[in-house]
Symmetry: C2
Subunit: 609 residues, 2 copies
């Protein structure tokens, strides 16, 4: 069969599947599938090269379906390619199926979860970059909706794609004019998108997204570009079914049985074509083997050192033993101290500028290709990427986030620069490891623990230098804690982490002068919290505990400890309960009630009760 006719036939089959699947499921977005059916047919059955037997083949081209609500047609394409059985399509959205409402990597061909719009291009940038690093010949395709291009994250990614000159990256925008609730900002004004992408340094190819020859030509042209390309495909939402074409009010609505029958009549007869024959296979390449080397040479410290500096030192030494480690930094590498890594390994270090969303999204893409991204900025600015971090969790990404300058202890820069919600943000993610070391040695050991851990994780560092408490040999496994002061007569346990460990130690000395003895636990592993040991130790100090942290009252260490102790102790929780302000670190620790003096008072009040 002539290629054009074959692709038209396959597109029709994709349309039919999409309609049937969503009607069967009783929910989903058929009209958004119909607009991109011709693009999908061309992508999967002519343009992309992939080995249908191996989703991990490093030579595979990759597709990121940024408009994740079009999942049905993605599943349909996999069925036509012979990757999944056609019959499984009728399980769309069932709790027993990996063909979910929006794509997640539970279906192994999906490399990143999508469905929170405007994120796919960042993932594609990260993946295309990773493939260049890994010397893969593969290309990355990102299928975007028009509505999602209102998201700023798209433009952060566009910047980075052109700066990195990712010629192996091709975005396709399905400009079907209609958003969920009404027409999009630009409707069918393809030139508006062209102007924007051109201004952001991309090659642009406007086409009619329903004409197979135009689509194929555009892909061919894109392959020759040294810059990234966006194909601006003008399409019709609901294309192929007369009574829903280009109509508002059909977003996210499956056809009723009766409507489906009418639709299938319009599309009949079902073309009988074996699409599998049209799949183009690359020359096989083995997938990147994970480099399982995580033990690195630790530094020796002689004097008090900021944990952020120790983080930088550890990252550098880790990178020496593990080539999969890459670093991304949002124009603060001289503050997070990722800079020594940047100097030593410029090819694995990426200045992602002040664009935290794209930085996190790129991490998802790089992790999907086997790299281990260490991503750093001030902890105050990580909430900027909260939605991407959330999606990284659903993507089962192996990313290590580092937030520096945490808490009021940063001092005079003021509240906008203080990370006070970061522990809460990361703790909310099931399975996310959250470590918060208090000295240089424990920081290095924590970096090692996180490197070994395959999954999302977070390390929180502090601006000011803090005294050394541990040695180069001490281990800080995820889920552990350290008892740093213990005697037989302890009247209460103080549970601290990071900067407040040092305040607790000052309180310890002062209380000792008054013959009051306290136990101190360094709860460096905020998640998982060391429930057993904390419970055991607190039980031995009269079931009385003071938790003290440089974080807002809710979401952080206090909540972790309260859950862990679950009724087995009385807790006084010292944390930031107000909107903080500029001042000197020690003034702020005092004003917001988390310094040694406040710990001392809390202990005394607690043991009097």
């Amino acid at each position: 069969m002539e290629k054009r006719k074959a692709l038209e036939a396959i597109a029709k089959r994709l349309r039919i599947h999409s309609i049937k699947m969503t009607t069967k499921a009783g929910s989903g977005h058929p009209t958004t599938c119909l607009s991109m059916a011709d693009l999908t047919a061309c992508l999967f059955f002519d343009e992309m090269k992939y080995n249908p037997k191996d989703s991990e083949d490093l030579a595979n081209d990759e597709l990121v379906l940024s408009k994740g609500h079009a999942a049905p047609i993605l599943w349909a394409a996999y069925a036509e390619a012979g990757i999944i059985p056609e019959g499984s399509l009728m399980n769309l959205r069932k709790i027993t199926s990996t063909l979910e409402g929006h794509p997640t990597p539970r279906m192994k061909w999906v490399k990143a979860a999508t469905g929170s719009l405007g994120q796919g291009l960042s993932v594609g940038v990260g993946m295309a970059l990773a493939m260049k690093l890994a010397k893969s010949p593969g290309r990355v395709y990102v299928l975007m909706g028009d509505g999602e291009c209102a998201e700023g994250a798209v433009w952060e990614a566009a910047n980075m794609g052109s700066l990195l000159r990712l010629g192996n990256l091709c975005a396709i925008m399905d400009i079907n004019r209609l958003g969920q609730s009404e027409a999009t900002m630009h409707g069918h004004d393809v030139q508006a998108y062209k102007r924007k992408f051109q201004a952001f340094g991309w090659e642009t190819i406007p086409i009619n997204g329903h004409r197979i020859p135009e689509i194929l030509k555009a892909f061919k042209k894109a392959r020759q570009n040294v810059k990234p390309t966006v194909i601006l495909a003008k399409t019709i939402k609901g294309k192929g079914i007369s009574f829903i074409e280009d109509k508002n009010g059909w977003h996210g609505k499956p056809l009723k049985e009766e409507e489906m029958k009418r639709a299938l009549e319009e599309l009949s007869p079902i073309p009988s074509i074996d699409a599998r024959k049209y799949v183009r296979k690359p020359r096989k390449m083995k997938s990147l083997k994970p480099i399982k080397k995580y033990n690195f040479r630790k530094n020796i410290y002689n004097d008090k050192t900021a944990t952020r500096r120790a983080y930088g030192n550890a990252l550098l030494n880790l990178a020496k033993v593990n080539e999969a480690v890459v670093a991304l930094d949002g124009d603060v590498k001289n503050s997070t101290y990722a800079e020594s890594f940047f100097e030593a390994f410029p090819k694995r270090a990426f200045q992602t500028y002040i664009a935290e969303q794209n930085m996190a999204g790129m991490g998802i893409g790089m992790s999907a290709k086997g790299f281990i991204p260490f991503i750093a900025t001030f902890s105050a600015f990580l909430p900027r990427a909260h939605d991407q971090i959330r999606m990284a969790a659903y993507s089962f990404s192996n990313i290590k986030f580092c937030g520096s300058h945490s808490g009021v202890s940063i001092g005079a820069d003021g509240p906008s620069q203080m990370g006070l919600e970061d522990l809460g943000m990361f703790r909310s993610i099931p399975g996310c490891a959250v470590l918060y070391p208090c000295d240089a040695y424990s920081t290095e050991a924590c970096v090692e623990s996180l490197a070994k851990y395959r999954g999302l994780s977070y390390i929180r560092t502090t601006r000011p230098a803090t005294p050394l408490l541990y040695s180069r040999e001490d281990k800080f496994p995820i889920g552990g804690s350290k008892i740093i002061k213990r005697s037989k007569n302890d009247k209460a346990t103080v549970i601290a982490a990071g900067i407040t460990v040092h305040e607790a130690l000052k309180a310890y000395e002062e209380l000792r002068r008054e013959n009051i003895s306290i136990r101190i636990i360094d709860a460096y592993s905020v998640q998982p919290i060391d429930k057993d040991n904390i419970t055991k130790e607190v039980a031995k100090t009269g079931r009385k505990a003071v938790v003290v942290e440089d974080h807002f009252q809710n979401g952080g260490l206090g909540d972790a400890v309260a859950q862990a102790l679950n009724g087995k102790a009385e807790i006084v929780h010292l944390a930031i309960n107000d909107m903080p302000r500029s001042g000197k670190p020690e003034e702020l620790l005092d004003k917001y009630g988390i310094d040694a003096e406040h710990i001392k008072s809390a202990v005394k009040k607690l043991i009097k009760r």
Copy 2:
């Protein structure tokens, strides 16, 4: 004195202040102040009209300092304008001063906290829109850095500024080439920014940012534009001090005493000019009086109704009594049910498209001008605006966020669409009211409570329809709770909110058949939690509590209750502990252990202990 000479003299004074202040404070960003000194002089002492005696004069032009780290020169300008005493400048960054490291509205001329970069333009868009609505003749100026234009939020705001045709909005970009850690993406390539802003529909005026006549001409031209304008000012970081001009490595570093002396010598003699004479005052307008009408006519419901629908109904009726209420929605108004408001009050309703960051940022700007923004999207997508929400808290904004489609109860759309971290995100903000109603009547009452509350707040709604439990007369104050089942023999208390209240009621019926009686509390006020009543009730049921919520394990109702009960009860906490997936709502409530059956088991296990 000739205007040009006067402005040059004032600019020099601003430079001198900025250097002295930061050296005195021992921290801060003098070089970033120096690059914008000429722009600032022109803005404050020729272009902007404001009444220096009244920061709330509605006729005032407004300035948003998006590059918040340039705070010292902002304070210096206020001193020169006679708004604050010159001597107070030496208190920069002190804990006793409102002249913080980055601007916050503790200093009353600051209308929105800045310092998390790339947010100011959204605030400016919201403020300019609000001033149009309030019929103010004032203009809004947004002073941006070049580095921060890598933030996607800038482009979300740029879209909205041009769509709304905000001719009263003028951005000034201080293109000083250098970021924190190295040169910015585009360095001094002014044309790169011009292309981008033009593509986003703005008027652009490239100038030399150190030539007073050029600056004044640009402002004049901008005033005549019907579209928003961006003045692209090429500047030199550190301008005016030979040894730091255009040098990398000087970001965020004050001059040492010795360096300051050299700098002041270069700038000497200090011009003696009374800048106050150059302040242009507008014709006075009273500020918008807050409309303190919040009681609206509630609807009557006959059958089960989704709380999101009741939210929409309440918002509509509230808007009828209070003209300050405006609504913003991110292209999901037919899902959040803000749509009835949009139909009834099109002039106060703003389609902000799929761009949650800008939507929140606009809210900050509108709130600063006395409006009460109700901002809605899926709760899953509110983390996209986490950083803006954080800054809204520091801006003391009066914004009501609504997150619909919360929890696994949305069903088949899958995890990307499920808000499971939203309660944690909003709970982490001190003073943020967080309400989570379970039926239509309580939803309407909650909307009324939030409208009355001046401050940041959040209401969480649910996708599926839920049975009616309350009446039109019931009150739901912030900080309250409802005991919906209570008897003398209750063996445990089940604390639920939203969808799980109904699961608790099912469990109640089933347990009753086994002669086990439970107390049920609807903890609709997640923050502040009704600590006293919950503690009292739980004490009466053997100090045993089951908390059940459709939210991730950490950060939500469970943490709130654990803190409230603080050791006074044993708690079993049922929440989402895994990465959820697609399925039917009831299947998911079961799979993730928060349905009636799991509540039943938890109660039975708990009372057996």
